[in-house]
Symmetry: none
Subunit: 290 residues, 2 copies
């Protein structure tokens, strides 16, 4: 009757728990403690692991107001569904007003981005770096806003792999480069929703050429992630704002460059020093003020 409003199915379960027969309490606690398995594995499977009768699960579901175990599981499944980030509708968000609205906007954005960084798969980046290290040549492609990420990666890799790194379309129309991909080369493509046609074409060309394809994207469902040997994911929509965030992509690019450099060992170190020496000699850098 006077249920505690419409909270999550788990809460309903917990609040109804004390008034249930002993066996159902056990089962209920098991479900609450293993709700992920509850949504993915079968009822009999759970029963075996919980050491209970399968029927107990059906009875539990009915006891707390569901038509059956399927209904309860459906509710749990929906409750667990990852929040669908509407990629481009975010700009319609209600603008907070007041004097500090802008500050709050920035703070939210930064917090969300900070939270997203640790979710990047370090092992995936490490594996991709191994591939880069072994590649005879490295192509980098990024268009629109992703061009900045591409250029950063290009710049950092060139510090110790000068002759072997190149931006796709860096010196002329993109299509001239697409035919140049070779099997022993690596192609890095950066992109997120909405995906540019050019990035997809690069990915396809890389695949056709048999080159190793590394995709830095916001989703495994990204078109240019198809056929990729490595997919490095970042959260573009995680931060509020009028445009998807590139912070994660930048972090990946830098990590990629850093690990590739460390794999390069003494040779890479030497080349980096040479490059720096040359830049200093041509007085690109300014001496710091004492």
């Amino acid at each position: 009757m006077a249920e505690p409003a419409k909270s999550s199915p788990l809460n309903e379960l917990c609040s109804a728990l004390p008034s249930l027969p002993m066996r159902l309490q056990e089962v209920g606690r098991f479900v609450a403690a293993n709700d992920y398995d509850a949504t993915t594995r079968s009822m009999r499977d759970l029963a075996a692991e919980a050491g209970a009768d399968p029927a107990a699960f059906t009875r539990l579901a009915k006891a707390i107001g569901y038509s059956g175990w399927d209904a309860l599981r459906a509710a749990l499944t929906e409750a667990r569904r990852p929040s669908q980030t509407s990629p481009f509708s975010g700009r319609a968000k209600g603008r907070r007003h007041g004097p500090h609205a802008d500050v709050a906007l920035i703070t939210d954005k930064l917090e969300a981005e900070a939270a997203g960084l640790p979710r990047i798969s370090a092992s995936s980046v490490a594996n991709a770096a191994k591939t880069l290290h072994g590649a005879k040549r490295i192509w980098i492609a990024g268009f629109r806003s992703c061009r900045s990420v591409a250029e950063l990666l290009n710049y950092e890799l060139r510090l110790f792999r000068a002759d072997e790194v190149q931006i796709v379309g860096g010196s002329g129309p993109d299509d001239l480069d697409l035919g140049a991909f070779r099997a022993d080369e690596a192609v890095v493509v950066i992109g997120f929703t909405p995906y540019t046609g050019a990035s997809v074409r690069v990915a396809e060309a890389a695949y056709r050429a048999g080159a190793t394809l590394i995709a830095i994207a916001d989703s495994v469902a990204a078109p240019m992630a198809e056929g990729a040997d490595h997919v490095l994911l970042f959260e573009a929509a995680s931060s509020p704002g009028f445009f998807p965030s590139l912070t994660g992509a930048i972090a990946i690019a830098q990590s990629l460059a850093a690990v590739t450099f460390s794999l390069g060992g003494a040779t890479a170190k030497k080349r980096l020093q040479d490059t720096e020496a040359r830049l200093t000699a041509t007085s690109i850098y300014v001496s710091e003020k004492g």
Copy 2:
């Protein structure tokens, strides 16, 4: 060929996609895009929603090396299982060597960068954005690795301030632009140690012209921060690695663009929509899978 081996089932799926028959590609894309439903709902259910034959799912699973759909789903389920590792637990891992040294390097780097983001002064960014909003024209300068940051800021601002934003040296030698600075304009300079001479010259020129100078730098002692009306600080050296991190600078640039956009109000919104419409019309973007 030697598989990367240690990748997620989603990655295996993506890399195998292009070599699959058309129908299986469709189904594969559907699975990649709806992997949560793939783990929770039934095969036939998915088939109905994807508009495909149930058998296609079984065939897809077998095509990429699993014994059947159940096996693929089990793999996806395990991959999706919530990790018991708390996101921000500063795990004390002394391991600096061994097989996982690279992974540890990346993890440390990401954690340090994530920790640095909240230290950015949101109010400073907000103030700088107000300046940008009032500026007749916006110049952006960044050299070497900072060029990527400059281009990102340029790209995002141009989405709604097309005619009034320009990269210094974007169309010819830098020095041609230096004389063009005016008093009612704003100049954004991005840089960190070691500082390039070019960025310092830009800052000086802006100061002489009486233009508003916004410096994005790693220190208030940076040469181009001298005489700046706004200094936005980020932590470049906070993360380990062979090269200072630009993650903070990117975050600042994006926040700056976002706030400037929000200050622009309806006009900015309208222009952004126009720009997007134009990009879509020229089919720069590829339509997402159905």
